[in-house]
Structure formats: C-alpha cells, structure tokens
C-alpha cells in the first residue's frame, strides 16, 4: 500500500490500482455522510480531483494519486457512506483504476514514510 500527502492510499495489483482515503483522513473528516465516486470510463491524471467526500464538518475533493482510467467504483459507498469511517483502508475503497504508468506507484510514500509525514502535522 502506498500513500500521498493528501491522505489517499493506493494498492496496485497487476495494472489495477485500488484507491481510497487513509484512516487518518477518515478520522479527521469525522462521520462521512456522502461520497461521490468517479464514473467508470473517466480518465484522470495524478493530482486531478476524482471523487468528493462529505462529512458533517466539510466537503473535500479526493485527488487521484495515480493516473489511469476508472474501471470500477465502490457501489457500497452510495448507500452506506459510513463504510469509509468503519473500514477506510479496505472496505471503504473509492474506485479501481487501470493505471497508465505503474512507475508512478513506486514514486508514492510507503507506510513508514506516510507515518513519518503524519508525525510532522
């Protein structure tokens, strides 16, 4: 699993990346009440806003940590956005993306680096 400074996570299996927001992000947001997942077929560059997550406190853009085309969005989040709080780094995934350049994955932070980054916040 890799991480961004904007608190997204990615898991790469073959050329498919699963993307979500980190436990830290879910904790900071508070109770998530709405998630807008990206449409299947849409393509994104790394850093593009690709989903929206809304909590009782604020609405936030979620940025694509890696470039690619959306192949699947998590249908559960529409009916049960609380999944993001309950299971941010597994069941609360946002979308699966066919990645354009797997090398981008290696450029992201590993867990140790992300936790070191969190310690600076």
């Amino acid at each position: 699993m890799r991480f961004t400074k904007d608190h997204e996570w990615v898991v790469l299996e073959g050329d498919t990346a699963t993307i979500g927001i980190t436990a830290y992000a879910a904790e900071q947001l508070g109770d998530v009440v709405f998630v807008e997942t990206p449409e299947v077929g849409k393509t994104f560059q790394a850093g593009d806003a690709f989903a929206v997550v809304e909590s009782v406190k604020a609405a936030s853009d979620v940025y694509a940590p890696i470039a690619g085309e959306v192949v699947e969005a998590n249908p559960e989040l529409t009916e049960a956005p609380e999944t993001v709080n309950a299971s941010p780094e597994s069941g609360g995934w946002f979308a699966k993306v066919r990645v354009a350049d797997p090398a981008q994955y290696e450029g992201l932070m590993d867990r140790d680096a992300y936790e070191a980054f969190l310690a600076t916040l």
Binding site: D31, V33, F34, E54, V56, K57, A58, A59, P81
Partner: protein, 526 residues
C-alpha cells in the same frame, strides 16, 4: 390601614418546588412541547370560513389533486404554534449572536417602520411606473449610496442574497470575457480560506476552481497567486477583510497582478461591515463586489427574513449588468426592463422582477439614519469590539493569528483545548447553556477547530464583558477537567444534542402522514 384579605402570597414561598418536580402535563412551564404543524391540524377542522369555489373549467386534465392534507388551524392555534417555536430558538433580539461571517447586528425598528409604509409595502411589481415613483426614487437613491460607499460606477440591485450576487458578478465577468473574445478563460482562482459559496458559484457558472495558498499570517500568498495567474484565468474571488478577520494588506498588488493577467477581480463583500465608510473597494481595484444588505445595512436575516445582495461593478463590467435598472428622466423614474442600444450587452436577468424591495427600504433607512459619519463609526466600532474580544480572551484561548489587530471578527483555534477532552463543538454547545448563540465553528477551514467570533458594533462594553467573562469561565472549567459540562451540553436547551450524522445521512425532507391518523378526504358528493 386597609388589609389585604384576598390571601395572595407576597413572598415566593415554596417556589423551589419539591425535588424531582414534574408537571402533570409533561410540559415545562412556559416552555411547552410543540408538535409539527401537520400533527396539529387535520381534515376535520379549518380556521377560516371560505365560500365554496365556483365550478370552474379546469385544463389540468387528469392532474387535479383529489387530496391535499393541509392542517386546518384556527388563527390563535397558528399564532401560538409559531410563537412557541420561536421561544425555542435564539435570535438577535434575545442576546448577543456572535456568529462569525454572518454580521448578526441589531435590526433597528425604524427600518421596520419605513418598510411597512403602504407606499412601499403594498406595491405590486406590475404596477405602472407612474404609480410607484417613490419606490423607484428610493431604489435610485440606494443605488447612489452603494456606488458612493464603494467608489464604483454601477450597481445591479436585483440579486437576492450574497451567493446570488456572486452569480451576478461572475456572469458579468463571463459576458465581458466573451465580448472581448476571451471566452476560452476557464479558471477561477479562490483562496483556501474563502466562503464555500465562492468555489460553488464559480463551478455553477461552469468554471474550474483552483485554490490559492495562504501565508502563515492568514493572507493570500502572492507568489502562489502569481504562479497560478495566466491566460486561462477568468477571475479571482477574494474576500476582504478575509474570513480570518484580516485585511488583505497586499490587495492593491493582488488587483495589479490580476489585471495584468487579463483577469477580473471579484471581491466577496460579505465582510463589508468592517470597512464601510473607511475603504472604497473601487479604490482597491475591485471589478465586482456583492454587498449583503442584510449584513452591513441591518436587514433581518438568519431565519428573520430574506437577504439582498446588490452587486457593484467597475467601468469594464458595467455594460453587462443584468436588467432591470432604474432610469431617471425628466418626466420621472422608469424601470428599464429590456435594455436596447448601448445597454444591450446586459447578460440577461437574475429574477422576474427588481429584487427585494422590503430590504431596499430597510437598508436605505439604515443609511439615512446613520449618515456617512455614522456608517464610518459602524465599521470602527465593529472592529474595536472584535479587537476587545480578542484582547480579553487571548490569555485563555488561542488566537489563530496573534500578531497585530484583527478586523471585525476574532478567530481562535482549538490549541487551548488540547488535553482537556473538550472540542470546539463542545464549547459551542456549552455556550447555548449560558444563553449565547455559539460562534461560527470549524470555519474557516484553514484553522484547526476554528472559532470565529463576530460581535458586531451592536454590543455595548457591558455586554461584551458579560460574553468574555462567560467564555473565560468556560475556559477555566475545561482546564479544571470539567469535561462533562461540555460533553453533555446543551443541558438547558429545549432539545439536547442532535444526531447531525443521522440527519445528514438519512434526512427526512418531507412530512408524511401516518396512514392511521389522517382521515380520508371528504368526497365531492358529501
């Protein structure tokens, strides 16, 4: 001497009541529980006696409703319902209302008297102009004052609130770019501390929104602004004073950079109360700015009435202002509805008629009763009051930007709560128990656990002291480990803490009758 023989006690003996006292009805004295209005009325009663309607040919085909379960209340039932509801709520007429960014100032009753004059209140927007000359004259004078106070050459009066004004301003900017062959500009730059309406408006108009970073002292980061300005940028939207309660001291440079890049400068005028009579936005290089009449010029808002958001425009944007507007001619005032000739570049209309007439009257009454010197004093007192609050609370709370004075609002973060187990939300709820409306919380987003306090010029020093003493006592309680005072708050409100999450996830947006409790509609034959 004559003796009082009616047996009326003159001392409140036994007023405390037995421990654990509960009323027989379950009510709380003068504070009665109140059901929904739909639960009060029903088909079996009606509050008015109307004649049967004449049979009328309907062209609604099969779409005529057979049932309409509206509550049938008598006038006293309806009046009591709303008065009881109002008793459960806070209002600026009850106590200090320090909701930052909202400018909850007193609404002078003189404004109300003027707004109720029949010559203003009983008009119909389709009346001939010759019969509404006084109202048109008032709109013309209001426009004159708004232009004078802002140093801008034009104003569109019709926008009905702040966000509607933002829409008006951005539509003018879009029209101006398109007229100049610059329709390819697709980006609007917005600082991270902006009101949420700014990026929402830009997105609504079809622009892509890019955030501008903020400096450590809470202002627009000029280097970041310069890096993001370019031939694809249509406008920037900057609030001044900004939502951190700070004056953008580089505003002239912001305007210069923006104009050099071919973009327009939209100023969110939500915080105009801090500078009215002191600073003219036109002198700062602003191209468009909405003025929340309901904030700066004291018309009731926040549940008390509608807003009004006239937009002042620079020379460059004035030709694109929406219709209608008031024209002064030798034979009186006219409302220009369909611009032609030189004025034909108007981007269209924002609403069916001319805007919020009742708010125009109240705002104009406020302007006249204060005069230009009085309006300047409004800004000075609003800023002084906020700085007084900041100074009195800075040793027990943590100001987000401790260096230097603030403008009209004092912003604190939640560092002072660290280790107490108490959050910003808990402090806000505890303030309800103390009889104050909470401050704005968790906004602006750039400050952690933000508490934004805007006392306005309304409050006296005595009232500000009472407010500050209360917050100081709450701060002491938090530090002394009395977290339960906060966690369970409000204890004394008609309703305790609501489940915001459930309300957001599973909102009930419409009342539906319980099948068993509503009688069927009487059929037409009965």
């Amino acid at each position: 001497m004559s003796m009082n023989t009616v047996g009326r006690p003159t001392r409140p003996e036994g007023a405390a009541g037995p421990a654990g006292f509960a009323s027989l009805t379950g009510g709380r004295g003068l504070l009665q529980d109140e059901p929904l209005i739909f639960e009060l009325g029903g088909w079996d009663k009606t509050g008015v006696d109307l004649p049967e309607p004449e049979a009328d040919a309907s062209d609604l085909a099969g779409l005529v409703r057979e049932d309409l379960p509206l509550p049938g209340l008598s006038e006293p039932e309806a009046v009591r319902h709303y008065v009881r509801l109002s008793q459960k709520n806070h209002a600026i007429d009850l106590a200090l209302y320090p909701l930052g960014s909202c400018t909850m100032k007193h609404n002078p009753r003189l404004n109300e008297k003027a707004a109720r004059l029949a010559g203003f209140a009983d008009l119909h927007p389709l009346q001939p102009a010759s019969t509404i000359q006084g109202a048109l004259a008032l709109m013309d004078r209001l426009a004159h004052w708004l232009k004078t106070l802002t140093g801008m050459p034009a104003v569109a009066l019709s926008p009905k609130a702040g966000a509607h004004g933002e829409l008006c301003g951005l539509l003018c900017i879009k029209a101006a770019h398109e007229a100049a062959g610059q329709g390819h500009r697709r980006k609007v730059l917005v600082p991270t501390s902006a009101h949420g309406t700014n990026p929402a408006t830009a997105a609504f108009v079809g622009y892509a929104v890019t955030e501008i970073a903020q400096t450590d002292d809470g202002r627009v980061d000029l280097a970041d602004l310069e890096a993001k300005l370019g031939p694809d940028v249509a406008a920037i939207m900057v609030t001044n004073p900004n939502t951190c309660g700070l004056f953008e001291r580089d505003v002239l440079e912001i305007a210069r950079l923006t104009h050099a890049a071919g973009a327009y400068f939209y100023c969110d005028g939500a915080n105009f109360n801090a500078i009215v009579g002191r600073v003219r936005p036109g002198d700062l290089g602003v191209d468009a700015m909405h003025i929340n009449l309901h904030k700066t010029f004291s018309t009731p808002h926040g549940g008390g009435g509608p807003g009004a958001g006239p937009v002042v425009l620079s020379e460059a944007l004035a030709p694109f202002a929406p219709a209608p507007w008031v024209l002064s001619a030798a034979d009186g005032f006219q409302l220009l509805e369909e611009p032609t000739g030189d004025a034909a570049q108007a981007f269209g209309r924002l609403c069916a008629f001319h805007g919020q007439m009742g708010m125009f009257v109240r705002a104009y009454a406020y302007m006249l009763s204060h005069g230009s010197d009085g309006l300047r004093q409004v800004a000075e007192d609003a800023v002084l009051n906020a700085n007084y609050v900041k100074a009195r609370l800075s040793d027990v709370m943590s100001p987000a930007f401790p260096d230097g004075p603030c403008m009209h609002e004092a912003l604190f973060d939640d560092a002072w709560l660290e280790g107490t187990g108490v959050t910003t939300l808990d402090v806000a709820k505890a303030m309800i128990d103390e009889g104050f409306h909470p401050m704005t919380m968790y906004f602006p987003l750039v400050v952690h656990g933000a508490m934004l306090i805007e006392p306005t010029e309304t409050e006296s020093k005595a009232e500000l002291d009472r407010f500050c003493e209360t917050l100081r006592a709450l701060a002491a309680a938090a530090r002394q480990g009395q977290a339960e005072r906060f966690k369970g708050a409000p204890f004394l409100a008609p309703l305790r803490r609501l489940d915001e999450t459930l309300a957001a996830r599973r909102p009930k947006l419409a009342w539906r009758p319980e099948p068993a409790t509503v009688a069927p509609a009487p059929s037409a034959a009965e």
